[in-house]
Amino acid sequence: MSLFGASIRRKEDPRLLRGDGRYLSDIKRHGMVHAVFVRSPHAHALIRGIDSSAATADPRVVCVFTANDLPAGLPPLPCIDAEETTKPFNQPILAADKVRFVGEPVALLVVEGDRYIAEDIAALVDVDYEPLPAVATAEAAMAPDAPLVHFESNVVDVLEYSLGDAPAALAAAPHTLSERFVTQRYAGTPLETRGVIVEWDEARRGLTMWSSTQVPHSLKATLVGYLGLPENSVRVIAPDVGGAFGVKLQPYPEEIVLGLAAAQVGRPIKWVEDRYEHFLASTHGREQYHDVEVGYDDDGRILAIHDHAVTNTGAYLQRLTLVEPFIGVSMLSGPYNIEHQQLVSTVVMTNTTPLNPFRGVGHVQAAFTMERIVDLVAAAVGVDPGEVRRRNMFSADVFPLHRGIGNVLAGDIIYDSGDYQECLSRALAAAEWDDFRREQESARADGRHLGIGIGFFVEETGLGPYESGRVRVEPSGQVIVFTGACSSGQGHDTVLAQITADELGVDFDDVVVVHGDTDLVASGVGTYASRSAPIGGTAVRNAAGSIKEQAIRIAAEMLEASPQDLELVDGEVRVKGSPASSVSLAQVAGRVAPGQPLPEGVDNYTLDATDIYHPPTNTFSYGCHIATVEVDVDTGVVTLLRHVVVNDSGALINPLLVDGQVQGGVALGIGGALLEEIAYGEDGQPLNANFMDYLVPAIGNMPEMMVEHMIVPTPLNADGMKGAGEGGAVGAPAAIANAVADALLSLGAKITETPLGPETVYRALQDAS
C-alpha cells in the first residue's frame, strides 16, 4: 500500500498521550531565573521616567532592563512586506519615550525565585506616564482631529489594484448596489501562550533560545542581526508547540530583549506569557471593513466591483502586518470572473495591539464580503444563490489563470488548478440544498426561522520563498528526515515520514522526523500560509528522490549490475526482473559509511541528501462551505445545524489529518462568525482580555460537520499538494453569515457584520422592523 494518501495514526501521539510532551513552559534549566515584562497600562502615553529603585532594592532582583539599557541605535522590529510608500511605524524593542498600546513592553525584570515573586516585584517598578488621547478604531483614527499614533497621519499606506475600467463599468451597469461589510478583530489564541527560555554559554560565547515559535530559523536570523553574533553562536529550538495559528509566526520584542539580556544575566532566563498578556501583546488579526459597490445585470452577472477596504492594523507594523490589507482586497473576487475591479486598501494605525496574519489572513474578510455580495445580488435578481455563483464562476478550463491583480510577497496571482463549478455542485448535493428548502418552508409554517448559506473561497496557499528537506539513511536502516517546517500540532512528523517512506519504500516506523532546532536543521523557513505540505513536503520528496538515485548508484557496484537495471522497491535495491538479487537500503548506507574506500564513481560518504525547494509560484486551494442554521428571532441566538465542506487542497498525504485541519479551521471560523471579538473601549482599553469574556468555540457550539475532499492536483509540485491548513477558517464565516441572512430574508434584516452574536442579530431585526 502506498503510504502517500494513507490515513494512518500519528507518530507524535503516544509520547504526548503519556504526558511526555515538552512544551516551552515544561523546560527547566539549571540555575534558571524568571522574567516578567512591565507593560503599558495606557493605550497612549508619554513616558516621563522609570524608577525601578524599589524593585532593584530587593536582593532577589537579578536585573531590570529598560529602553535605556538596550544598545544605542537598536532598530525597531522589521516589517518585511512594506512598500516604498509605507510609513515606517515599526515597534521599538522596548518603549522609550512613548507607549502606543496597552500591553506594550516597557521593561524587563528578572528575578531569582519564581514567577509569583517576579510579579510581586514588577509591581514596584514605577513608570511615570503622562496619558495622551488615544484612538481605537480606524474610523476614529481617520477623523481630521484624531490623536496621532505616530506622526503626520494615522494612515500608513493606501494600496490600489485595478483591472479593467470599474468606474465606467459601474456607471454603465443595469443595476448597482452598495454596502459596508465589517469583520471584527479576533485572534488565533492558541491554548499555549508564547514563552521563551534563553541561556548564554560563556565558554562558547553563544546563545540558545527555546521559544514557542512557528519560525525558529527566522527567529535565529533576527537574533543574529540584533545580537551581532555569528550564525554558529545562536541556536533556536522550538520545542513542542501548543498551537500557533499564525500568532507565533514572527520574532517578537520579548525574544529580542531576552536575547540581549542573556549574556549580561549569565544564567538561563525563563519567561512564559500569561493569558492576559497574550491578549494584549500577541498579535491580533482581521479588523477590516469593506465599502463595496457592485454593478450587475438582470441575470445576476457581476460586471464590476469597487471596493474600499480599511484595516485597523493597531499601533505598529509587525513583520507581515500588511498581508491583511493586501489579501483582503486582492483576493476579494475569489472564484468569480469579474472583468472590472477597482480595489483600494487603506492601512490605519490606532492605539491597539498590532495585527499580523493568522489562519486565513485577509481571505476571511474577502470571502465574507464577496459571498454576502453574491447573495445580495441573487436576492435582487430573484435567482437561486447557487445558480448566481455558477453564472459568475471561472470554468475549469481557464487554468493557469493570471488574475492580473498584484499581491506583495507572492508576486502575481496565478490560479494554478481547480474546478470551482464541480466543487459547488458537490457541496450543494452534500448539503441536500433542495431538501433543506422544503424543510425550511415547513419550519416557517411553524414559526421557526431556518437558513442555508454558501461560503465559497479561493485561498493563496503554499507560500514561498522556500523550504528545506534533508534525508539521511543510517547503516542501521533508520531514515532521518530534517525539515525547516516547524509543527505546532499539524503532524509534520507523520506526514513527512509518509512521503519519505513512500519514496524510499521503507517502513514508516523506520523514519524519524527532526524539526524545530536550528543546530540540527541547517536551513529553513517555518510553518505558516498552508505551506508545509506543498513546500516542505516537496523538499523532502526531492531529497528522498536523490537518496534513491544515490542508492542505486552505490548498489550497482554491490550487485555488479548497471544502474539502469536496478530499482528501489520495499526498501531494497534490486535487479529488475530478478528480485532475489538485492541489497537493503541499510546495506547500501553501510557501504558508504566512512572508514572504507568509496565505490567507484561515488563521491560522497554517507547516504544523505538535501533539497531546498523554491516553488515557482503559489498554489491556490479553494472550497465550498454550506451552513444551515436556525435563528431565534426573539433573542437573536443563532444555532448551527449542519456544516458541509467540499475542499480542494490538492493531493492529500494523510486524509485523516487533513480532515482534522479542516474541522479545526471551521471551528475557528465559527468563532469568528458568531462568538469571538477582541473589544476595546474608545480610550483603547481592552475590554475582554481573558477566556471568560472572549469566547472561543466550545464543543456545544459545534454543528454536525461533514468534510468531503475533491482532489485536483496542482501542476506546481510533483505530488500535486496545495495546502490545507487554513481553508476551514476562511469559508465558515461567509457561509454562516449567509445562512443567518437567509433565515431572516423575509424579515428584511441586514446581515453585514460578524460576529453574529445575539445582540447583533437582534439589532438587525429591530432595524428592519
Binding site: R9, R10, E12, D13, P14, L16, L17, R18, G19, D20, G21, R22, Y23, S25, D26, K28, D114, Y116, G188, T189, P190, L191, E192, T193, D240, V241, G242, G243, A244, F245, D274, R275, S488, G489, Q490, G491, L656, L657, D659, G660, Q663, G664, G665, V666, A667, L668, N690, F691, M692, V696, P697, A698, I699, G700, M702, M705, G728
Partner: protein, 159 residues
C-alpha cells in the same frame, strides 16, 4: 508568605512538602514535582486544560491551591499510564486523531476518565454535555467526540 505542610497522594505516591499558601496545585505539580502533563492555558478556570482528578473528581488545578488538596488523592495524566502502555482513552485519541497540538489533551483525557467512570456508555449528547468545560483550539472537537465513542468501545462499554 506563610508556608504550610501538605501531604498529597499523587498518582499513588504520597508526597509531603511545605508550600506557600498561594501556590496553586497546578504549579505544585509542574514546578515542584515535574509532573508537566498538567498544562496551563487561561489560569482562571475557564478552559479546562489543567484538569486533574482530586479524589476521583475533576478539578481545575489552576484554581485549586495546593493547601486545599492537602490529604487528597490527585491523579494527573501521568498517573493514567503504566510504562509505555496507553490506557483506553489515550488509545482512542490516537486511533481517532482526537488531538493536534496536544496541549488540551491531558485535560480532556481526565475529564473523559471521570465521565466514563460515572457513565460507561454515554450518548452523544451526554458526551457533548460532559466536555462542555474543556476548550480545544485545534480539532473542532469532531474527532474528540469520535475518540470518546472509541474509548467506550475499548473499555468494553457500548452496546
Amino acid at each position: 508568605m506563610s508556608e504550610h505542610a501538605v501531604t498529597i497522594n499523587i498518582n499513588g505516591v504520597e508526597r509531603t512538602d511545605s508550600v506557600p499558601a498561594r501556590l496553586t496545585l497546578a504549579d505544585f505539580l509542574r514546578e515542584r514535582l515535574d509532573l508537566t502533563a498538567t498544562h496551563l492555558a487561561c489560569e482562571h478556570g475557564v478552559c479546562g486544560v489543567c484538569t486533574v482528578l482530586v479524589d476521583g473528581e475533576t478539578a481545575r488545578a489552576c484554581l485549586l491551591l495546593t493547601v486545599q488538596a492537602d490529604g487528597s488523592e490527585v491523579t494527573t495524566l501521568e498517573g493514567l499510564t503504566e510504562g509505555d502502555e496507553l490506557g483506553p482513552i489515550e488509545q482512542a485519541f490516537w486511533a481517532k486523531h482526537g488531538m493536534q497540538c496536544g496541549f488540551c489533551t491531558p485535560g480532556f483525557v481526565l475529564t473523559i476518565a471521570e465521565m466514563l467512570d460515572d457513565n460507561p456508555n454515554p450518548t452523544r449528547e451526554e458526551i457533548v454535555e460532559g466536555l462542555g468545560g474543556n476548550l480545544c483550539r485545534c480539532t473542532g472537537y469532531v474527532k474528540i467526540i469520535e475518540a470518546v465513542e472509541e474509548a467506550v468501545s475499548l473499555r468494553g462499554g457500548g452496546a
